[in-house]
């Protein structure tokens, strides 16, 4: 957490508003990420998490508000521009194509090439060996780089997507509910991967509605509700119960939790 205090945020978004016609999806959200930090963005369904990260990664353009990286103001008109300056997003669908090999997926959109145009070709030798090495760094030993992604488990696919983003120089890594569809063991593998990524100095934005997963890796926590920030808390300043209450809107949740015997 020392990083948080004495460095500049790698990305900072201030008063972001996003309107879709008459619908106000975001009503002034501010958010920042420091290098080497895992900043959890929590919120119930419909809170505006998706719209917010899509604004951060260039899919949507904010109606008002500013985005700056390392103090410099930025404007992204498409995801590619955001990607070029190091904002990488791992979406829930993972941007992985099951029928394609791990290597083809890993390099999709940024294929290494050899040879001169028009005879330049996909440098599979380099691509395959790099893919194997990068996956091994994340603790996954692939059978072969030509293996189709569809044959991997959910956690392994998640790891391919994260390894890909990190390898391509992500400074900010946005993870959109990476643990929502995973079993217990796969979840802990992914959380361990998040920890590895954070330690390498990348700023991680971790979107979830599972407070326990957030508490496991988060340095800071921001809760979104109805397009607004309910506040940002440091690790240690807030308990899981408080976060849960903020996400669900307080009282009702406490009642519900009582009736369910504290299992939620």
């Amino acid at each position: 957490m020392s990083v948080t205090e004495n460095s500049q945020p790698v990305i900072e978004l201030s008063n972001i508003e996003k309107h879709f016609g008459a619908v106000i999806a975001l009503a002034g959200v501010s958010f920042s990420v420091y290098p080497g930090e895992c900043h959890c963005l929590l919120g119930d369904n419909g809170a505006g998490k998706s719209t917010f990260i899509k604004t951060m990664s260039g899919v949507h353009q904010p109606t008002s508000g500013t985005i700056s990286m390392n103090g410099k103001q930025m404007h992204f008109s498409n995801p590619r521009q955001a990607l070029e300056v190091g904002i990488a997003t791992v979406y829930q669908d993972l941007a992985m194509i099951p029928l394609m090999s791990v290597t083809r997926n890993f390099w999709m959109g940024r294929e290494p090439r050899k040879g001169l145009w028009p005879f330049s070709y996909f440098d599979f030798e380099k691509a395959n060996s790099t893919t194997m090495t990068e996956m091994a760094k994340m603790g996954i030993n692939l059978r072969e780089p030509g293996q189709a992604v569809g044959t991997l488990s959910g956690g392994e696919r998640q790891t391919v997507a994260i390894a890909r983003a990190v390898y391509f120089g992500a400074k900010v890594l946005i993870l959109d509910e990476p643990t929502s569809a995973l079993g217990v063991r796969q979840t802990s593998n992914v959380l361990a991967t998040v920890d590895k990524v954070r330690k390498s100095g990348v700023g991680v934005v971790f979107i979830t509605h599972n407070v326990r997963h957030a508490m496991a890796v988060g340095d800071r926590f921001t809760v979104l509700n109805r397009g607004k920030t309910l506040g940002t808390a440091q690790r240690g300043d807030i308990t899981a119960e408080q976060l849960q209450d903020m996400m669900a809107g307080g009282q009702e949740m406490a009642d519900l939790e009582g009736s369910l015997g504290g299992t939620v």
Binding site: P79, A95, Y121, A136
Partner: protein, 373 residues
Amino acid sequence: MNTTTSDADAKSGPTDERLAKVSLAKTLLQRPEVGAIVGLIAVIIFFSVYADSRMFSLSGIMNFMEPAAQLGILAIAAALLMVGGEFDLSIGSMIAFAGIALGVPLVLWGWPLSLSILFAFGVAVVTGIMNGFIVLRSGLPSFIVTLAFLFILRGLTLVGLKEATGTTQLRGVKEAADDSWLMELFSGDAFEGLFSWLAQMGWIDTFKNGTPKVQGVPVEIIWFVVLAFAASWLLTKTRFGNWIFAVGGDPVAARNVGVPVTFVKITLFVLTAMSATLVATITVLEFGTADASRGLLKEFHAIIAAVIGGCLLTGGYGSAIGAMVGAIIFGMVQIGITYTNINLDWFQVFMGAILLIAVVLNNWVRKKAMSSS
């Protein structure tokens, strides 16, 4: 960990006990064209048994390879487009349309052959862009958009030809075309010198006066084979090829990682229109006429060949070599039947059955390839 081969990795690294070794059979099954090659072998065996032996003589082979090549040029481009997740039902009509786009400037406007060919390909580029643009902009299935163009292009060809000549045919192409090297490129035979040398050596059949019975390889076969390997290289070995798989597999995912989806798909539509124009150029120069009825049903034949070649109807999977083999199967069955005692009308029944088997097989193979054990 610095291993580059999976073998070394399996021995040295800490392996996951859940990763079973892949069998050779399964590795083979993962290749989309394998089904087509097995099919080709089956068809060859069938005709070796039931057809006249002349079918597999040199002239017999040229006989079925010629229609296979014309279909194959279309099928290869159709296969790339199918891997990219779209269909083009307008390519059959495009053959006729490109035929008049070539014939009218050449015969009626007195343009040189080179400019007329350029003009026809220019028309193809515009048509391809239009197909692609409408599909991508409207978000409609390409099946519907290009079905509309199937009728529009065929109708325009009829209207244009009747306006220009009063009939549905435009004659006099050979008289108007004089650029010899371009004629060589798009019509007649290649390797004529080689074949007459082979004849002199007595290695191939000749007529009584010593000229070989097969004077060379028809140029469309050369185009077909060269394009098949070029397309296969493009699809499997280049960055653009990776993009084709990506936009066909999942366009949203592809866009999210920075693949220019619109550009890739429009390029593929342009390629199919250009392949139809190449076939048009070859047939117009071969027959010396442009005809409004040319290319009828070719769009379906091309898709059948691509599917036999292992393309999935859902996109994201397929092979150019497979489409090439699919077209050869098509030509072999079509022409091969004439070498047997079987009634020619059975051809369509055969092709329909082969198509059905191919689709079922493709789906099964894909499921197999995707299963983790």
